[in-house]
Amino acid sequence: MKKRKTMVNLNINDQFVSVPAGTTVLAAAQKLKINIPTLCNHPDLCVAGTCRVCVVEQRGARTLIASCATPVSEGMDIHTNTLKVRNARKHIVELLLTEHRSDCTKCYKNQKCELQALANEFAFGDTIFLDLVEDHSYSIDRSSPSFIKDDSKCIHCQRCVRTCAELQYISAIAVANKGAHQKISSFHDRPMSHVVCTNCGQCVNRCPTGALVEKTYIDQVWDAIYDPDKHVVVQTAPAVRVALGEDLGYDPGERVTGKMITALKQVGFDSVLDTDFSADLTIMEEGTELLTRLKKVLVEGDKKTRIPMFTSCSPGWIKFIEHKYPEYLPNLSTCKSPQQMFGALAKTYFAAKRKLDPSKIVSVSVMPCTAKKFEADRPEMRASGYKDIDFVLTTRELAVMIKQAGIDFRILKPSNYDSIMGDSTGAGVIFGATGGVMEAALRTAYEIVTGREVPFSNLNITPVRGMDGVKEASIKIEGCTEDWKFLEGVELKVAITHGLANANKMMRLVKQGKAPYHFVEVMACPGGCIGGGGQPIPTSMEIRENRMKAIYSEDEHMVLRKSHENPDVMTIYKEFLEKPNSHKSHELLHTHYIERDSY
C-alpha cells in the first residue's frame, strides 16, 4: 500500500474539521476538543468497539456508530450529543451497571473506576433495569500472589484480553462462552496461578473497574510497622520515584525521590533504603557473569556455556521464558533481581551490620510491578534462611499508605536514604527504563575491560535508549587491559527488548539463529519498569515517555553514574562478599529457574 496523506473533511457538532484518512471519528472529535466518553477504548490497544459507550449519531445513517471504531469519511455530519445519543449512552451505562457488582464504597478502585465515573455522569438516580448480578455464579480468583480477578466486577470490555494478547503475546486470559455466559476466562477455567500468566499486571493496569486489581499487602505492612518487636526495612525501586507523584497530585514525569523518602519515614518504616543499591550490585554480578561467559565461549570454546546471555531482573520475563522457552533457561543470567538481592542481604549483611536479629526484620519492597509479588513468594528466594522479601507493595499501594497516614505529600521536604544499602548511582536509577540495565552494564563492563569510560558523550549510551520494541547496539572493544586481552577487537553486540510480545519476537530470532548477540536485556513491561503493572493508572505511551525522561534526568543529576563507583557496593565486597561471583555471592545473590507448562 502506498502512503497517501489524503485529508478527509467532516463536521462534528456543526464544527468543521479536516483530518487524515483513517482517523477515527473519536480522534477527529478530540481534535476539536469535543469529549466523547469511552470505556473499552485504550490508547495502547487495538480498537474493540464493544462497549458502545462512545456511540454518536451520523446523520443519514440507520444506526448510531461507535466513534472509536469508525474511520472518518468525506462529508460526514456527526453529532455527539443528540437526544438519541444521550438516551442510548444512558441505557448502555445502566446496562453495564446491572452486570457489575457495585460495592463501590468498599472497592479498592473506588474513585478510580472508569465505570463509576461514567455512572456519575450518565446514570445517577433511580436504576432503570433489573439487577443481573444475582443471576450469575461469579467467581473471585485469589490464587495468584500478584492480583485478584473478580468476575463480578467485570464489564467485558476485553481490555485485559487485548493487553495479554497484543502487548504480551501470552493470552493467559481470553473470552470464553457466549451470550449471558460470556466471561473472561483462562485455559480450561483454571486458577490464574496455574496458567501461563506471568503476573506482569499489564491487565491490572488497564482494567477500568475493580475486576482486576493487585493483591494488596497494605494491612500486613501496617501491622509490621506498628509491631514494636519488628524492624521494618523498605526498599524502593528506581521506577517508583518517577511515577508515585501521579497518584499524589503531580503530572506524569515528576521526580519525587526526596519527598517519597520523607513520606516513607513518616509512615514509620525503620530503615528506608534503595533498590538502586542492589541494582548496582546486580551490574557487578551480572557484568562479571557476562565476561566470564564470554571468556568461556570465546577463549575456552566451552560448548555448555550459552550466549546470548539474557538479563534476569524482570520476574514477568522470567516466568515467560520458563513457560514458553524453557530450553533457553541456561541463557538466563543466574543473578537474582535487584529486589531479591536486596532481600537476601537485608537479613544477612544488613542485619549483622546493624546488629539486628534477622528473624525480627520485616523486609518490604515498593515496586512498579505486580510480578515482584510472585517473585518474592518463589521457594528459591529464601537464601537468608528466611523469606528474603516479606511483602511487596506496588507504587499504587504506597500512594494509598501515604494517604492513609494523612500525609500532605506536596508540602514534604525531601530527605535522603538511610545508610548501608542506601547509596545509589545513576546506573542503578536507569534500571527503571528499557535499555537501562544494558547501559549500566556497558558503563561498568567496558571500564573493567579497558580501564576507560565508555566512548559515549557524558556516558549517555543513546542507542540503547528509547521506546523502539527491539533496539540493537554494538561496541568495539579496544585497548583491553592485560586480564581481558581475549576481548581485544571483539565487537560486543547487544540487544534490548521490552514488552513480552517483543520479547517473543526476539526469542523467535534466537531460535532461528538470527540473533547474533552476546547480551540481551529483556523487560516484561512496555517501556520497562516505568510502564510496570504496579504503576499508577492510567498509562499511555505519552505517560511512559514522561516517566522515562524523568529517569534519565535523575541519572544526569547524580554525582556517581557508574555502578562500580557505588560506595556501599564497594564496602559490601570488601566486608562481606569478597568479589563478584564469589562463593558467598552465589549463595545469596544467584538463583536457578524451573521449566513450566506451556499453557
Binding site: 464493544t50 446491572t98 460470556q182
Partner: protein
Amino acid sequence: MKNKGLNKVDLIFEKVDLKQVLTKAFKMSNDEIIQQVLESGLKGRGGAGFPTGLKWKYTAAEKEPEKYIVCNADEGEPGTFKDREILDRVSYKVYGGMAIASKAIGAKHGIVYLRGEYRFLLPQLMKELESFHKTIDEIGYNFRIRYCLGSGAYICGEESALFESIQGDRGEPRNKPPYPTTSGVFYKPTSINNVETLVTVMMIIKHGAEAYNQLGTKDSRGSKVFSVSGDTPTPGIFELELGMSVLQFVNEFGDGDTKAVQVGGASGFCVPRKKFTDTIIGFEGVPTGGSMKLFNSSRSMYNVLHNYLDFFAEESCGQCTPCRVGCQQLLKGVEKVKKGEAKSTYLNELVKLADTMKIASKCGLGQSVGNAFRTIVENFREEIIY
C-alpha cells in the same frame, strides 16, 4: 391494495444443465455478469437483503489479487430450513452460482461455511463437489471450492463472525467498515452470499435478468423459498413469487385459526391477524430470509416471545453491551412483568431498551432483537402481562 397474489414458482429446484449455464456465464465479461445481476434486482436471500449485484461490483472493484467467494450455509435462523433442502437437492447449482460469482469478482477460491448441524449432508455434498470440480475443469475454468464447518453458534451466520470462524478465531462480529467487499475472510476482499442467492444467480444467467424481473414487485424482485412451520397443515418448503400479502399466505398455509405469523424468524417481525391484509411479504413490508411461522389461538405469545429472548440471551456473542446485557434484561423483564413482580409499565422501558439495542448494537443480531420484541409486545401486550 392490489398485489400479485400467491403464485407458486419452480426456479430454485428446477433441474438445469450446469455445464451449459456456466459456459454461457463464462462467455460473458465480468461487467456483463454483474450488470445482469444488478438488472435482475436480486437482493440477498439470507434476510438482510443487500443487492447482490452491488456486492459483487464492490468486490470486483478491489485491486487486491486474492479474493474470495463465500457461501453462507450457516442457516441458523429459528424456523428456516430451506438452505438444507437446497443443498440436499441441488448443491451443484450452489457451486455453479459460486463459480459465476468468482468470475464476476475475480476470485479463485470459494468457501462454503456449512452449519455444524448439517454435517450429515457433507459426504454427499463432497461427492457432488468433486463432480462439479470436474465439470469446471472440462470447461477450463480455474476455481476451487472447499468446505468449512460451523460449530453451532448462531452468531457465526453473521458475515464477519463467519469469517473469524473460518480463520479459526472466536466467532465474533467485526467493526464495520471495512465491509467484507474490502476486507472479508483472511482480510481479503470477499463476496459472501446466501445459498439461495447463489442458486438464484444461476437461474438469472440461464433465463436472463429481464425474465426474472417479471416476477415479484419493484422492491422485491423474483421469487423466494419459504420455510413454512408452526400451526399449519402443510409445513415444508415452498417457492413463492414475492409480493403477496400475509393474508394470502395465511389463506394458503394457515389452519383457519391463525392469529399471528412470525415473518423472518426470531430476528424478524410478528404480524398479528389485524395486519394480515395490509402487510406485504417482501422488502416493502416485512422482509424474510424464508422463515414463516404460523401461530393459532392455542399459542401464548408470551411463550413465543420468551422463547425468542431466551434464544438471543444464549446466542448473543456477548462482546457488545447492548446485545449481551440487553437480551438478558428483556428476558428477565418480561418474566418479572408476567409474574407481577414488575409493573406492566415496565414494558415501556423495555421497548425503549429494544430501540437502543436496534441503533447501538455492533451487529445485526443485537440490532434485530427489537423487531420481534416490539411487534409482539405492541400487538399482544395483554398476553405478556396477564
